[in-house]
Amino acid sequence: MIQEHLDIQLIAIVTAVACALPGVFLVLRRMTLMSDAISHAILPGIVLAFFLTESLSSPLLILAAAATGVLTVVFVELLQRTKLVKEDAAIGLTFPALFSIGVILISRFAGNVHLDMDAVLLGELAYAPLNRLDIFGYDVGPVSVYVMGTILLLNLTFILLFYKELKLATFDASLAATLGFAPTLIHYGLMTLVSVTTVGAFDAVGSILVVALIAGPPATAYLITNRLSLMLTLSAVIGSVNAVSGYWLAYLFDVSIAGAIATMTLLMFGLVFFLVPNRGLIAIARRRTRQKWEFAQTMLVIHLFNHEGLPEAEAESEVAHLHEHLRWDPAFAAQVVKYALNNRCVLQEETQLTLTERGRTVAQQALVQ
């Protein structure tokens, strides 16, 4: 039982990390939808390979599916290159066409074999550990761990080896081309990886949720960091956290593991979206509020500064006068005075306001700008 818990979580983590790494580059290239397209379009590849090998675990399945994935990218680009169809429309035309070929093939020829639509769309992580790898009669763990582990290793090697090239081709493809780095080759290299990864993950989480694993963690990491290397690391960590927490969520509520992982991915993104310092929604809202009060305080000290030492100063420095002169309603004026008092920009004696040295400096600085 414990072994089963560990196995499933291990598969989930390895799958999540393998998806998150190429996902970073897809997010930066604004191509996450391409992963969606690939994950659907590989279906006919899988079906045809299944007919050839009559087995669902043959490595030929992965190769055939990956080839179909790359074919999808080629079709999309060919359509796009005619300049008659934009990229999003090209994606929208290509993958349903390929996907439907797969669906027709299944319904026509594979009605009585184990290749049902539910498995294709949603996968089933819970059964993944049942398919185990035997070496000389020893059980060395679930097959999925080895399949996804190999894919993870492949992704990691590619990214480590061509980190510089991927970065340049993603940031500035035309410079990459002039320097001789063949951005098209890098593009197809990356797309091949995405295809292979999608096929591998497909088995565990199905074709729809693969996209969550590919897009979710990188999009979350992108909110946190300004460095590509850190974005890659964070995506891997966030993907793992989503996988493990999703697993236990599923265990607790007895629901689909893949669904729970995707839910956690979304929750995690939402959490970061609101909470991340500096860039999160809450931080932005707080900054806006602070700016509002800062601005009001500046108006107040400038007002006092302009009348300071003049005959009308006493009348102008009256708290009750502020709403008239600065057109603030009394409640707002009171709050601004309180804010300025807290910041030691003004002093209040009875109903009279006087500037502190600090308040004078703030006013002078604001007037100089």
Partner: protein, 246 residues
């Protein structure tokens, strides 16, 4: 042919078409080494396309481009390129120093990573453009003029012989523009060839010593004094330009 007579850039009979619509038509251009040349012409004249065709970024329908007597592919190392600022995503997660180091990637070749030497060269280039205080700055937090200077530093770090720049003055303030011009003139003093796509006709005589007037066809090219004439300008802009000569 003697080495001293080699042209820095030699474009012959270049025609580029997008879907049968010619963008450049039978263009010839000879650029001698050590000149600062501006390409001017109205919108849609094919200025950017010409630069891209020289760099092999667009495939010509006909014609030929040579850099010091060899095709571009053989001369990548000696050509530096400054694309238009708007062609990249400035929200990309990286900092100023990192972008400048990209200029060294060509010399590094595949797989090899930049190291201390590249870092030092990038620092020097940033000093030249007055951006040394911004090395760790996230690129999304730069102003337009700063972005432009970062791109310039990235080209400088290539230590090229021929530079091609697409509107390096776009959206920069007067001070930055002067600083960039001084830098371009320094490059020329060192014998480098600099080709700049330019928009402001008023400054052509001040900034450049050569000019090419382009409007799908080449109208004229040569030293500014001989080429930048009201008559040529009228031909280029179709009489729509109220031109002030100095």
């Amino acid at each position: 042919m003697q080495a001293s007579e080699a042209k820095a850039i030699e474009v012959t009979d270049l025609t580029v078409a997008y879907q049968e619509q010619p963008v450049l038509w039978d263009v010839d251009l000879d650029v001698p080494p050590g000149v600062l040349l501006s390409i001017v012409g109205p919108n849609g004249a094919g200025k950017t396309t010409l630069i891209k065709a020289i760099l092999g970024l667009v495939r010509p329908a006909a014609g030929n481009v040579l850099i010091y007597d060899k095709p571009y592919e053989a001369q990548r190392r000696i050509v530096g390129y400054v694309p238009q600022r708007g062609t990249v995503d400035w929200d990309f997660p990286t900092n100023v120093l990192d972008v400048v180091m990209m200029g060294r990637y060509g010399a590094l070749g595949w797989v090899r990573r930049p190291g201390r030497q590249e870092r030092e060269l990038a620092m020097q280039a940033l000093e030249k453009v007055g951006m040394e205080a911004y090395t760790t700055r996230q690129i999304s937090q730069l102003s337009g003029g700063q972005q432009q200077r970062v791109f310039l530093a990235r080209a400088l770090v290539q230590d090229a012989t021929v530079y091609l720049m697409d509107e390096p003055f776009q959206g920069v303030d007067a001070t930055t523009e002067r600083a960039i011009v001084t830098l371009l003139q320094e490059l020329r003093e060192k014998g480098k060839t600099v080709v700049v796509v330019h928009h402001d006709l008023q400054t052509v005589t001040d900034y450049f010593d050569w000019v090419m007037l382009l409007n799908i066809r080449r109208i004229a090219s040569g030293p500014v004094a001989e080429t930048f004439t009201p008559e040529n300008l009228r031909t280029t802009y179709g009489g729509r330009v109220a031109f002030m000569t100095k």
